[in-house]
Symmetry: D2
Subunit: 185 residues, 4 copies
């Protein structure tokens, strides 16, 4: 990666005081996960219809240059190696240098590792939710704000943004007993 | 990647690539604003009671080391120079090097400039909401996630985190006609 | 009015056990009130735009034959004698024999008395909300369900449906200190 | 209790104008159903914890004399004959003459028939929801308001209150394709 700083004006005091901040375009890849689950009132089961990302960005009054693209709509427990390969490929292939991926929490760390193995020269941030947005998920909106912010300022690499934190993609796991993310010990 | 890391505090001792990310403690100063307005069902008017920040952090499943402190609970249109002096003083006086301030949107840029004038050697991020959290504000949760994330990774300086963006504190204004923040032309 | 049973259509051929229930058409007159107040994010004030009744009936999965008509969109503290005369006239003039009126709570009892003075040979039920529907009002939805149900089964007369109760229109007042409706002592 | 009309003051114009309305105590029996389902963020599945009825009544600002009693917390598809016998027994055994039962929608009509077979000399109203209250169910709150209102004024018998309507207990079925209740043809 060349010397170009990720965000003009984020370079420290002199920079922050001296210039407006230019935000680079962000690719937002949707893969499903709890984020986008809905309640099917005819069957009483949870299912996927369409992503809520557009609505979330609208309600958030987001002014970010975000291109949303739905890659798949699946529970991350059902994600195959082929699905992961497709995500890796799309991250490499898209034009943006900053990518956010919404993803089920259960195998988010696994996908982070698959992305890392491909050594993308981009800033890639995975995020998700513990509660579906359609059920009044507060963590979904919070995490989306968090992931989009980390994606703007973190150096190239793969990260997981959950619980307000950013984790290095090869140093994180989900504690399923407690429903939180934590550094690999 | 060159030597200068964009993320002070995210290197820990051996760099972002080599270790779990260490998050420094964050001071969260509450000043009121739309964020915390509630509906008084006896008078039909909006008013302030207590901050919703604790509930928001809980619902967000935040695991950040945040110390919340309510400085005042006012509409930012009512904020006086003395109020601003108190905010500046508290930012300088608190032990943390990373500070988030919840603030009414109308004079957020003015407080940012007051903070900049004091040249704090800290990362200070102001944020707020266009709709009260108590009225199902999606932008409040999104902005809180955004502000707490920027606060962890931006270099020392004063910033405004709104609409998914971070603005340098002396280069931002609110467009009241459109209800958005934008760089000073 | 004589011994006519309160629930026409609930007897069918052989009483409640013997037939399906036939619901008569209901006229729903919107006059504004807390029910329909919204938050203006540009001014930070509450205001009226359009009624939420259609959305509420849709979310309620209502299958009632309801004709919604917006008469005015005002705070009931601003309601004039002319406004009340218009409501009375519309109740008398509409084709339905069952009428629900959404109304601000502050002068709901006054409008009930104006309606009673006109001695309509119809079942008229006024209802409202303590919290705007747009702010996640639980009492608005509950009260709407309550008012529409009372309107189907109560004998001709004027009623106020609030707090789960139905009050005779000339025997009710709002206790503004406690924000509840109660019988006139 | 003999021929005393269900609600004083609901007997027609003379009555309505001449007396306050006295509401009899209501027994509210909780059996579970979609009404009370929650999202388990650790397993990603729906489950039952405790009833939301108390919270719903509080948010509804209900002033009704309601005694809430949880009989069971189950999906109505799992309801056995023994469960139904217990509901029938409890309806007969409780002191109140007006009973509301929250129930899963799938077998609500079946339980209504079991109740009818016992010929209770009480007004019994079953209700439920298509969407869990915890997921922002609008129909749950609407239906609760509706059921509690019908229960106050309908003559003794067994009813289903859904979609804003009241159905005679032996003349109703759920159309599972459309997710609505309708009279038996």
């Amino acid at each position: 990666m060349p010397a170009r700083p990720p965000l003009r004006g984020h370079r420290g005091r002199a920079g922050a005081a001296g210039s407006a901040i230019v935000t680079q375009p962000i690719r937002l890849l949707v893969t499903g996960g709890t984020f986008d689950k809905e309640y099917d009132e005819l069957t009483g089961r949870l299912f996927f219809k369409e992503t809520h990302i557009h609505e979330m960005l609208r309600l958030a009054r987001s002014r970010l240059p975000v291109a949303v693209e739905t890659l798949m709509m699946i529970d991350s427990l059902d994600m195959t190696d082929a699905d992961r390969a497709r995500i890796v490929e799309r991250v490499a292939g898209c034009g943006e240098r900053r990518v956010v991926i919404t993803h089920g929490t259960d195998t988010m760390a696994e996908t982070a590792r698959a992305l890392l193995a491909a050594r993308p020269d981009k800033t890639v941030v995975l995020t998700g939710a513990m509660v579906p947005y359609a059920f009044g998920s507060s963590d979904g909106l919070f995490n989306l704000g968090s992931a989009l912010s980390f994606a703007q300022v973190l150096a190239p690499g793969v990260y997981v943004a959950m619980n307000g934190l950013s984790f290095a993609g090869d140093q994180v796991r989900k504690d399923r007993e407690r429903g939180i993310f934590e550094p690999v010990p």
